[in-house]
Symmetry: C2
Subunit: 506 residues, 2 copies
């Protein structure tokens, strides 16, 4: 066997293990999806055991000596160069995943799993009672665990970076802080502009009776037309909307529907379809490899938010889609024009709950969480002081103060499952999306015309070519630099959102 053949042989053996791990992850995702959509209540305990067994097997495989030896063989003799580009990217991801797995002692993984499992219960109780003290002790334990988590992973200067990196590889708090500061300042300025509008708008009309079945049918039809592929995916109902994938050709979306809020089902499903089209667009050559997923949560959110807000909340989109919506709900919408409807779904005003926030003020919710997490992980803020700091920042940034902890610092599930470091992804998604759209507008001169005619093929094709097909083969910063020629910045988003404010409010 010559060196090149041997390298390929070693790589293929490694790839085979990675595919087994991928299959187990997909199986785990199926069980998770079923749990949120169809699983009967009685099954909870057995399902937890099944999921825990699959996770344990994945961890065992990733930390096995066998994988370690194969990686060493490929790395030590410098034979990596004999591999094709996608093979090198695959190897890089396998190594990254193994390193993350190996760094965490099994006892720590078990401890983290147990503490977060219990914390999710106390968080639920706390939120129900609107009482932070019920969640306080568990949150303190989690903050302690996440600090140790960061220590195990390792970091250059800020332990919070190690946690952010889990969701946005390569991103740091130091990179985010100036961007977020400028974003915050820009947002505050724009809120003043909205307050000074001579032409205010109310969204009350959306909160009346819209039949659930019709809402779901309309939303499904909409995402089909923008390009979600129902041969390789489907839509079900769940309490909280999500997108999950069991492979490039099996992408599941969920939605929820409220009869007294037209927005939730429709914009929620367009959002999830944005995630789903990303997964469906990954190069099929990457099937069952670690490359077969979105490159980061921030880039993932850029896809969902692009479709939800930049397409789905544009005036051009509603010039095309509104007649169908109107004829679905003639009683409710016959007296409202497409232009009015566009304005209504773009109402921007400070509100308490992040997931219900508009496109503009949403980022303030994220920046608040980012700052609090950074301070908590670095020991500059004690858990006991979270409610008062939260409320003070709400007042400072949004001009409103939560009446209680349920609509304040207890509103999100993330901290209870140890998701510290995740929140920045949401705002990153908005910033990336605006940066991408700016380039797209140059590449597709008829961009708005196409949206207005309900033609989404070229836009989706652009996303496929530049983003989707690469999966995890390119990092978020590589993608951004290649597409936009500049690193992450808030300017495209502020420009975009000011344009919309001018359109809606002036």
């Amino acid at each position: 066997m010559n060196s090149s053949t041997q390298t390929l042989d070693t790589f293929n053996r490694l790839l085979q293990t990675a595919k087994t791990v991928s299959d187990l992850s997909s199986a785990s995702a199926v069980l998770g999806w079923d749990q949120e959509t169809y699983m009967p209540d009685g099954a909870a305990e057995e399902r937890a055991e099944q999921l825990s067994t699959l996770q344990a097997l994945i961890h065992q495989m990733m930390t096995s000596d066998e994988i370690g030896t194969l990686i060493d063989q490929l790395g030590s003799n410098g034979s990596e160069g004999e591999l094709e580009e996608w093979q090198r990217a695959t190897l890089r991801e396998i190594i990254r995943n193994r390193e993350q797995a190996v760094k965490l002692p099994e006892a720590f993984v078990r401890e983290m799993s147990k503490v977060t499992s219990l914390a999710q219960q106390s968080w639920k109780r706390g939120r129900m009672a609107a009482d932070f003290s019920i969640f306080r002790d568990d949150l303190a334990r989690i903050i302690d665990i996440k600090r140790r988590h960061a220590d195990y992973i390792g970091f250059a200067e800020n332990p919070y970076d190690a946690l952010i990196d889990l969701y946005e590889p390569g991103m740091t708090a130091a990179q985010l802080r100036p961007v977020f500061d400028r974003l915050k300042a820009g947002t505050v300025r724009l809120l003043d502009k909205i307050n000074a509008s001579p032409n205010p708008v109310s969204d009350d009309i959306l909160f009346t009776q819209f039949g659930a079945e019709k809402q779901v049918a309309f939303a499904k039809d909409t995402i089909k037309q923008i390009g979600f592929n129902f041969t390789d995916g489907r839509v079900d109902l769940s309490a909280h909307p999500f997108c999950t994938s069991f492979g490039i050709r099996d992408v599941r979306l969920t939605t929820r529907v409220y009869e007294d809020d037209l927005r939730s089902c429709l914009f929620g499903l367009i959002h999830e379809a944005g995630h789903g089209m990303y997964e469906q667009g990954i190069d099929r050559q990457y099937t069952r490899t670690p490359l077969a997923e979105g490159t980061s949560m921030g880039i993932h959110e850029s896809q969902s938010l692009f479709w939800e807000n930049m397409i789905g909340r544009s005036p051009e989109f509603w010039r095309w889609a509104y007649p169908a919506l109107q004829s679905t709900f003639p009683d409710r919408l016959s007296s409202i024009s497409a232009e009015e409807f566009f304005r209504i779904v773009n109402v921007m005003k400070p509100s308490m709950i992040r997931v219900e926030a508009d496109e503009l003020t949403y980022n303030l919710h994220i920046i608040l969480r980012f700052e609090i997490e950074d301070d908590l992980i670095n020991g500059r803020l004690e858990v006991d002081h979270i409610p008062e700091v939260w409320n003070a920042k709400m007042e400072e940034y949004l001009g409103i103060v939560p009446a209680n902890d349920a609509e304040g610092c207890l509103q999100d599930v993330h901290w209870s499952f140890g998701g510290q470091g995740y929140f920045p992804s949401y705002s990153l998604g908005k910033l990336y999306a605006a940066m991408f759209q700016r380039v797209m507008l140059k590449d597709i001169p008829d961009y708005y015309g196409q949206i207005e005619r309900g033609e989404f093929g070229e836009i989706l094709g652009w996303l496929r070519t530049h983003i989707h097909r690469w999966g995890k083969a390119k990092s978020p910063s590589e993608l951004t630099m290649e597409i936009c020629g500049e690193p992450l910045s808030e300017s495209a988003f502020l420009e975009y959102i000011e344009g919309k404010i001018d359109r809606v409010y002036y």
Copy 2:
């Protein structure tokens, strides 16, 4: 550590592995269920890989040296006696599963998987074209493989026994043959009796338009009332009805619905609910162990057929259930009485297709397949002669001859997936069910009165106590002997079915 503690420690380590295997099997079942209910078409290839990975892991675990050593430690020093009864039963099943896994070389398992996978395609094509020659070569390969399969497993006198044993542990062709011969003779005699009836009945009324949603709602309501637990299970739609379980508290049923056949959805779902209540009734102590499933396919079918036919097709059941059905379909059923409806759903007459056959003639379809399989595996019949032998037996036993192979020897999927040895389970189910009912009638004096009042608690309770709770802890023959005090026999069934014929036709 004293000997007893050590034994328990060894057993618990073995049990832990068995639980991991159980979790993987459950995960595999979830993926299989999803494949038949919700999976989008595009996902087929990735799903096949995921399922194959799970199967391979299960096989690796079951054949591992680790399990072998633990079993040897428990067996060799005679320490089994220190275990509790359920622990000994668990150990017995682990040993049985391991032996079955170890006996088959991995190359053979792969060959069998590949040949049957291809054969299912050629069988579909052959059935579509009604041409046995398309399936012929693959079937010849499968018969060869199943003979080798039997050799690997081992058998005392008849290789077919090794295959039957996969579905009905302990059962042999020699035990079945005299029972089936008497069953055949009895059935032929009863068919003559039906033909001589002064009071014939037609089921044409069932083949008109019955709304699909109403059918499903009625069927779901019915199985809820007989005792299927929707907290620990649910119902979905699929092309072919089935029951699968991902644990004692997660039992999934499926049904299909034809607007031009009222029977399919209703009796199909009662049938599957019979399977499902068996799974739901297993002692929860057995969760995640090899005892947490039905003891054999024959006993499993006894439960489904008991509820479908003995309860669901009884005159008492329809005196209770008919008013609700009538008010669900007033247009169709207002002119038919409960008594007439009972007679209509019990029409017995020879027909070509096994799955559509009535309670009586169904067994002739099974006996025909049993005889052909026995001859094929023993080399007394060549694959080429299957169509002519099939048609000759159809004429001899049922008095009708298939017009082509699609409604003849190509009608069932079983041979194409290597399920030789499975068919007898269906008739065993009927015989067991009648034997159990005979005892139940003594134990529950008000049996028919309870059915007529829609009270199924005591009947289900009887099944739970005597059958369900034991799972695989008792073998089919143990169960039968303990409950009935006699081994398998056709007499209870013939007595039961003649009673029904007298009721329907005389």
